[in-house]
Amino acid sequence: MRNPKIYLFLVLFCTSFWTCSIAEEVLSFSNKDYKTRYYALLEELRCLVCQNQNLADSGAGLAEDLKKEVFTMVESGKSDAEIKSFLTLRYGDFILYKPPFTLRTLFLWLGPFILLLGAFSFLIFHIKQRQKNHNKNPALNNDEKDTLARLLAKEEDA
C-alpha cells in the first residue's frame, strides 16, 4: 500500500463498529429454565441502534439496557409474552424479529406465497394458451409455406 493514510482509514473504519460488536457478560440465573428463555429472547429481539442485529449480538448501550430489563423480568417470573408485550408497547412491533401475524402484517407473511401462486397460475395459463393455439393451427398457412420454400431454396444455393 502506497498511501499510509489508507491504514488509518482501515483502522478507523474497523473500530467504528465497536458499539455493534459482541459484548459478553457473566450472568447468574436462579434456574436453568430462566437461562434458556433469556438467551432465546435475546435472539428474537432486535437491537434498535444496530438494526440488523439482535440483542444477543449487539454491544450498543441501549442493547445492554434492554438486556438488563429482560434479565430482570425473566428473573421476576414474567412470561415471554409479558416481556415481549412490555417491549412492543414501548418500541412497537419492529423490536420483534418475528412480526406478529395480524391483519396489518397479513401481506408481509402471505405476500410471497400469493406472488408465487400468481406467477405459477400465469405460467400454467400461458402454457395452456400455447397448447391451444398449436392444436388450432398445426399446419403452415400459405404465407408460411412460401417463406419456408424460399428459405430452403437459399439453403440449397449456399
Binding site: Q51, G61, R90, G92
Partner: protein, 185 residues
C-alpha cells in the same frame, strides 16, 4: 387476438409503473426510523431527580394549564447532534415554548457544563441516569423530542435533531393543528 395482445402489453406496463411509484416513494423514507407507538397515548409516569435541585420531577410537569403544549427533549452531553440542535432549542425557548429536558444516561457535571457553555433552554430538567425512563418512552437514541399536550397526551415524536426546517415541516403543523382544534383552552 388484438385485444389480448394489447392487454399483454398494457397490464405489465401498468404494474411496472405502479411498482416504480411505490418504490420511488419508499426511497424518500428513512428505513431506520422506528415509529412511536405512543402517539395519542398518555406520556408514561416517571419520578426522577432534577439536575439543579434535589426535589423530584414527575410527568405532572406536563399537566399545568399555563401552556397547551410542551416539548420533552431527550438530550445528553455525549450526543453531538444534541449540541448541534441546542442553538435552535434556545431560540424556541426564547420565543415562549416550554421545553422540559430529559438528561439521558449522562453525568451531572458534564450536563451542567454543557448548559453553562451553550445556555439552558429548559424550564425543568429530569435526570435519567440509567435510561430507564428513556426505555419507558421508547427512546432509542438522542436527541429525540416529544410534543406533549397539557392533558399529558403525546402528540408527536421526532427522532433526531431539531432545526428550523424540521420545526416548520414536522412539528409546527402538529402544534398548529392541536391549537386550532382546542381554541377554547
Amino acid at each position: 387476438m388484438k385485444i389480448l395482445n394489447s392487454i399483454r402489453i398494457v397490464v405489465p406496463l401498468i404494474l411496472f409503473v405502479g411498482l416504480a411509484i411505490f418504490l420511488a416513494i419508499g426511497l424518500t423514507k428513512d428505513p431506520r426510523l422506528v415509529p412511536s407507538p405512543f402517539i395519542g397515548k398518555a406520556a408514561p409516569d416517571f419520578n426522577l431527580s432534577r439536575l439543579y435541585s434535589d426535589s423530584e420531577i414527575t410527568q405532572g410537569v406536563f399537566l399545568s394549564d399555563t401552556k397547551s403544549i410542551r416539548l420533552l427533549n431527550v438530550w445528553a452531553s455525549w450526543c453531538p447532534e444534541c449540541w448541534r440542535e441546542h442553538g435552535f432549542l434556545m431560540q424556541l425557548a426564547e420565543s415562549g415554548i416550554d421545553i422540559i429536558g430529559l438528561n439521558y444516561k449522562d453525568e451531572d457535571d458534564k450536563a451542567k457544563a454543557m448548559l453553562d457553555k451553550s445556555g439552558n433552554p429548559f424550564t425543568a430538567i429530569a435526570v435519567d441516569l440509567l435510561g430507564k425512563v428513556g426505555i419507558d418512552y421508547g427512546v432509542y437514541g438522542a436527541p429525540e423530542t416529544f410534543i406533549i399536550n397539557n392533558k399529558g397526551i403525546i402528540l408527536y415524536k421526532k427522532v433526531g435533531g431539531l432545526n428550523p426546517q424540521v420545526w416548520k415541516d414536522e412539528l409546527l403543523p402538529v402544534i398548529q393543528n392541536y391549537m386550532s382544534s382546542h381554541e377554547k383552552s
